[in-house]
Symmetry: C2
Subunit: 238 residues, 2 copies
DNA sequence: ACCTGAACACCGTTCAAGT
DNA sequence: ACCTGAACACCGTTCAAGT
């Protein structure tokens, strides 16, 4: 806990009913969780907090910087408890914890995977541990650098796609169109696809109109984690 | 070719100087390539085409639908030439072609990976071939469904992260901050990370301030493709 | 230090009207 | 059928002013 100055008289506005970076970012994450990324605006956030839109700009230089803070807040708890020296267990836990964090705040998925801003909020201690794990796995030199990218891409990739955001406005109409498109896929033109259609339909990538929030891809994710770990093993012995 | 009515007199406006869905979508992709996704607007597109903003809405119901068309246009040529029965070569070519397509239009990367709208523009013949490849690999039943998701996630995942968009406005200031952050990483706190810092710096995920456009991750991508194929092999024999 | 208040230059989208 | 033209309800951000 930081040392606090002794206060006398009435408390300063910023503690009683005023803002702080923390309250702004927390409120922003809550708003995004509720209304989605498209509908979220600095102005609506200001209204929630009962201040002028410009008050936000005291704590944050612009919208992007605010979103970077939001991402950081949402990804607080991805650090695995496993010892990095047990690299397979460590990475498996990392992948699962990351997915769990995004699942709690699915609307920010596009921000993390697809925007470089998110790098600003990265926990470098976590990065350090990942490299420690890869070193213990036996990676070194150029191979280690490549393995690092493989791990990061694997960590972010599946989950970003699983929780890809739905179209904001015309979600219902869009879902109906998608459903009809899938239903219309016929055996003559798509023989292999058609064979698995009923099982793929809205239950797996591409042929779906809902995302991981309502239709989680648990089994596929576990297969992906397994495949990634095994792939890294093979990379090691290549 | 569709049958065309016999025309007499001067040509209809839509052929001479008017719009069409094709010209609108082509112009939109060109605009996004040039100015980026954030700066792109329906209004600026209209200005480019020398029409009122509302003219666009004759061809497209809304901005999202326009973007879905743009994605479809950009991903025209990802179908591999390899026979799907040679599943490893087929998937490898798929991953490479997909990456090459995104590399040509990096600004749309966030749209494909992180927005479900992109599913609307998917080539189902390609999906059919992917399943054919997986069947020939020996996948069946639930395993095939999981393998399918693994392939899609792998295809989209790495590339989405590699071409993650930079912050629009304050790109220079942001890059400088990021560079300083990386430089400041010290040996005491991040011993493993520090050991590889100079090689990781702006050359690999997370510790970078440029994306795949200026700093392509070719070697890491090839490692990722290899790891994914090997991972699928292991999935098969599990 | 922290917020109000007005203003600027934009958005996406709707609706009615023209040709 | 295809586009103009005006209008609506928003944006993010800047800047000066208040306390």
């Amino acid at each position: 806990m930081a040392v606090t100055k002794v206060r006398r008289g009435k408390p300063r506005q910023s503690e009683e009913r005023g803002l702080s970076l923390e309250t702004v970012v927390t409120a922003a994450l809550a708003a995004i969780d509720r209304v989605g990324l498209d509908a979220f605006s600095v102005r609506s956030l200001a209204q929630m907090l009962q201040v002028y839109p410009t008050a936000i700009y005291w704590y944050v230089p612009n919208r992007n910087a605010l979103l970077a803070h939001v991402v950081k807040l949402a990804l607080r708890e991805v650090m695995p408890e496993t010892d990095p020296r047990d690299w397979e267990a460590f990475l498996t836990e990392l992948f699962r914890r990351y997915r769990a964090a995004v699942k709690r705040h699915p609307n920010i998925a596009p921000l993390i995977g697809a925007q470089l801003v998110s790098n600003a909020g990265v926990d470098f201690t976590l990065v350090d541990r990942i490299i420690e794990a890869l070193e213990h796995a036996g990676f070194a030199g150029d191979k280690l650098l490549a393995a690092f990218d493989v791990v990061i891409a694997a960590k972010v990739g599946f989950v970003t796609v699983e929780f890809a955001n739905l179209p904001a406005e015309d979600a219902l109409r869009w879902a109906e169109t998608m459903r009809e498109t899938v239903d219309a896929l016929d055996r003559e033109r798509y023989p292999h696809l058609h064979r698995h259609k009923v099982r793929l339909k809205n239950r797996h990538f591409i042929l779906r109109w809902e995302n991981g929030v309502t239709v989680p891809l648990d089994k596929s994710f576990e297969a992906y984690v397994y495949a990634t770990i095994q792939g890294l093993r093979q990379l090691l012995v290549r």
